[in-house]
Symmetry: C2
Subunit: 240 residues, 2 copies
DNA sequence: CTTGGATGATAGTAACACTATCTTTGCAAA
DNA sequence: TTTGCAAAGATAGTGTTACTATCATCCAAG
């Protein structure tokens, strides 16, 4: 039996099976030339690209290396994605959609807006546990990629065109969702969206700094993500 | 008459002439193969690379294009910089050193730590006026570059090696300086360095979002940098 | 049985990221 | 004045990247 649930949150549907729940994220069709979720090769491209971008870094990652890794040819990859930047946007869009689902799911039924927002901060700043509901995506490695490479998806000359094609919609949706939660905590606060984008980006940047440029942070040698959570909570709550 | 002043802030010296003041920023020698400030060609490389990175974006910027623009050859550029990423690190390091000087200069003699910190936020978030004391660098275009490309200097696989060579020292120095100013405002605050890196990055990100992905911010159509200043002030002061 | 869409195999091109070498120029010490 | 030497110019070449094109194969639906 397959039931498709329509959630409030945009573009997400969940397929429920008797024994096993699988998450299906509907992606904007402009992100790819051929839908990678519709074939084995496509799924391999996603799986292996996450691993290769993580191990090589985005700059040194090439479609040639990906093709060899998968056991196909460059031309085969190009049938799915226009270029590696589009693939990066695809991966980030997938991640933000998945995270929006996590946020919605994990804050469901929490009445107290403060508790809710704290839960969101925890989700943003803490390493994700791989939930196995998405079979061909490794969320914890993807999380690492988003920390290091995520901003490169939009920090380009093409950002306005890409935005017109709604490629950043999942990111903007998540930001709007969190912005509204901030407003629930304090309806008079004047910068909910800017604060939302700030905590989203800083959850990642402070993590990167902690692990690579630690003198830019106040988090000790233990490299504890809990400290990032406390910093962000302080940032959000001691004012509002 | 030439007088060389040694300032507290590291690696900065100011040469004072009778009629004319020139700023000379001492750069880490690992940033280049041959010091671009010591020759006409080197200065042209800096000047034209700022313009070309701004007009093409860093990804589409190449040494070939730069060479043609200047009227020299690719090989000529490679005598000064190992590759375009090193050149980017050079430009960002120069910018952060220059900004640290600005911060030190513009907050000098301000006693009230709150007024001081507000002045810093203004400097971080407001378009710089070209002060002409640095003849071959256009600070306002460089500021635009740092907004869009600045994080790419350190968001790489090589970040730890580059950090060992102290390539990010100017950024870390600025962050430490601002962190100390935050502590002056509230000696008990637990995250001065993280808050400092947050306002530095957010001064740029909110500017980028305002101009390119405005729904991630609360700043209207007028695209006023003053609103970013107010957001950052609120972030820093309503808590501390 | 055939037909079309996905894939595989192979080739090719322009640009990019360098490295090498040889010549010329300009200036400065001997 | 000559010699020397470093910076810059000129040219060439190599391996890789980022694609595009073409043709053969395979497999499943009609």
């Amino acid at each position: 039996m397959i039931v498709t649930l329509s959630l409030q949150i945009a573009k997400l549907s969940v397929m429920l099976f008797t024994m096993d729940i699988q998450l299906k994220i509907n992606m904007n069709e402009k992100l790819f030339l051929r839908d990678p979720e519709q074939s084995e090769l496509g799924k391999k491209i996603i799986l292996h690209s996450i691993q290769l971008i993580h191990s090589n870094g985005f700059e040194a990652f090439t479609f040639k290396k990906l093709a060899i890794d998968i056991g196909t040819t460059e031309a085969g990859i190009y049938r799915y994605f226009e270029n590696k930047h589009r693939l990066l946007i695809y991966l980030t869009a997938w991640y933000w959609s998945w995270l929006e689902y996590q946020v919605t799911f994990q804050t469901n039924n929490i009445k107290d807006p403060t508790v809710k927002l704290k839960q969101v901060i925890k989700l943003l700043a803490t390493t994700v546990e791989n939930d196995h509901s998405t079979l061909y995506v490794d969320e914890s490695i993807l999380h690492q990629i988003i920390i290091t490479e995520g901003t490169k998806a939009y920090l380009t000359k093409r950002v306005s065109e890409d935005n017109k094609d709604h490629l950043f919609k999942p990111y903007k949706d998540l930001c709007a969702l969190i912005g509204n939660m901030i407003l629930e905590c304090n309806p008079d606060y004047k910068y909910p969206k800017s604060l939302a984008s700030t905590i989203i980006e800083m959850a990642h940047f402070q993590n990167f700094f902690m692990n690579n440029l630690p003198s830019l942070t106040d988090f000790g040698q233990d490299k504890n993500e809990e400290e990032i959570v406390r910093f962000l909570e302080d940032l959000v709550f001691s004012s509002r």
